[in-house]
Symmetry: C2
Subunit: 324 residues, 2 copies
């Protein structure tokens, strides 16, 4: 049988309320009894029962994480694993537990969110992605339940969110690419999914920067973030154009793109691409990789969420600077 607060009380010769106070390190307990109680706790290896505590405090120290399967397909899964690592690590630091739930579609997401909230199991919820007219967000708002979303949401009013500063990163990526012996004054943006906020924001930064530098810019958008699309786009571009400078939105596109270049032995290019990934030696010099630091997103999300739960929210939503 597990040891309870009562047994600690008996062992230390005090009341249960005293033990409880020692646990929360109340200032109105003498050091001597604190000492005694702590010793008993240690010796008997007492761990408070979280369920019991949760019941009375109406706090569980648990965060719920909603994972949309589609998003996992869309982004690369290393991205999500790293976000999750960030979440897990920060939660541990803040003494919170994490519950997660994979959802197959928007409906399931909404239901999981509701269920998690209504069961009283979690103190706050983190949505791993956001969509247009997100029902889960609307629900959480309506219930005034603490939540945070990863990725810039459609409506930003009273919604906590974290994201990379995609626009700035793309802006600087252009400068970076053009700073190293520019081959010519043309630059192209290789991406996919123009509905995605990430795509839109990176495109914005790209265009602004290109304009400032007086470059001729072009945008090529594929249908999805896949190697195949990267390959196809490269093929399309090099059929007619003579591009040299590229911003590539994501690593799958990049890989397909490079594959084409290799096959055609086109090495006279400058590329900046998002997400860290393994490059062959021949590309190390030509491709500048921008690490978007997924684990920082997870870290920041938990920070904000916990602050929100504990009512000490000076932090507004946070934009993670992608350092170069």
């Amino acid at each position: 049988m597990k040891v309870t607060i009562k047994e600690i009380a008996i062992d230390a010769g005090v009341s249960v309320s005293t033990v409880s106070r020692v646990i929360s390190d109340s200032s109105k307990i003498s050091e001597s009894t604190k000492e005694r109680v702590r010793e008993a706790i240690k010796r008997l290896n007492y761990k408070p029962n979280i369920m019991a505590r949760g019941l009375v405090k109406k706090k569980t120290a648990v965060l719920g994480v909603i994972m949309p399967e589609e998003a996992i397909k869309l982004f690369s899964s290393p991205f999500f694993i790293e976000v999750m690592q960030g979440i897990s690590l920060k939660a541990k630091e803040k003494n919170y537990y994490i519950m997660y739930d994979f959802c197959k579609n928007e409906k399931e997401e909404y239901e999981s969110t509701k269920k998690l909230l209504e069961s009283g199991f979690v103190d706050g919820i983190c949505l791993m992605s956001t969509r247009k007219e997100d029902k889960s967000i609307e629900y959480l708002k309506k219930m005034e339940f603490p939540f945070v979303v990863i990725g810039e949401p459609e409506k930003k009013d009273s919604t906590l969110w974290v994201d990379n500063n995609n626009s700035k990163a793309a802006y600087e990526a252009v400068k970076k690419v053009m700073s190293k012996e520019p081959k010519n004054s043309k630059i192209a943006f290789i991406g996919a999914d123009e509905k995605l906020t990430m795509t839109i924001n990176r495109m914005k930064g790209f265009q602004l920067s290109a304009k400032e530098l007086g470059l001729t810019s072009e945008v090529y958008l594929g249908n999805e973030f896949s190697r195949e699309e990267g390959y196809r786009l490269a093929k399309e571009i090099f059929k007619t154009e003579n591009q040299k400078n590229f911003i590539i939105l994501e690593d799958n596109l990049l890989k397909g793109f490079l594959q084409y270049l290799e096959e055609k032995t086109i090495f006279d290019v400058n590329i900046a691409s998002f997400n860290k990934t393994n490059l062959k030696d021949i590309w190390r010099e030509k491709v500048f990789l921008i690490d978007i630091k997924p684990e920082k997103l997870g870290d920041a999300a938990v920070s904000i969420l916990v602050d929100s739960i504990e009512g000490k929210l000076e932090t507004a939503s946070r934009v993670i600077d992608i350092s170069m």
Copy 2:
């Protein structure tokens, strides 16, 4: 304020215990009152408080999952995401919640396991990987706490585990490779990390099969599961040998291996490789991919664990058949 069982009782004009019985669908409640109570539950949108229930039943309907960071690096992360999806899905089906915890090293794993168990938060624990002299396993055994481990453990006594039938899969992979117009009677195994049970088992199956077919077999083991090692091994092999038939342990090794072959335009090979991955068109014919179905591992792990928790364990440990 959240609606409680008491309010349902009042609304339906019955006692709280009756409501409780209706919730658990007790056979000793008349259909008429069941009807009435269910109506009230629905109308007032009542959801049982899991904490309260957990406190009295000493069951939480929560499973803990320990994720070792090292393992994530070792295996490819899509593997883990898919295992997690399998876990999540099955847990949902069985009405369990999932808590997870990333651990940086063995010590942290052990501590997380202990903490999870002692806090009374979880009914069972799933270890996402196993090591030699695993302290967490020893602890869980000692505490007689329900747990399951993914991957074949060192000591199998009284330990529930799930794994692929790696040996059989490799056995059949060899037959498969040699069945399609074998180029010659030599076959090589490309792997890494001979300490890993997975490597050992696949190697066993490989060698048995090669022996049965009277093939000359060779084993090449790299230092890690990386593209670079795959490339290096290919280089090493084709410097001196004239191999045609290969079993490759994992997709990173495969990718590096193929890259070398492409560069040297060596296409006269037959390969079977583990894990599904995207292949270029040129390889579709030559490389046979064996899907190890990670989500099935997660699924089976939860099934076994829940059975074990609920005392209805006819299931022993389970080996997932890798279909070809």
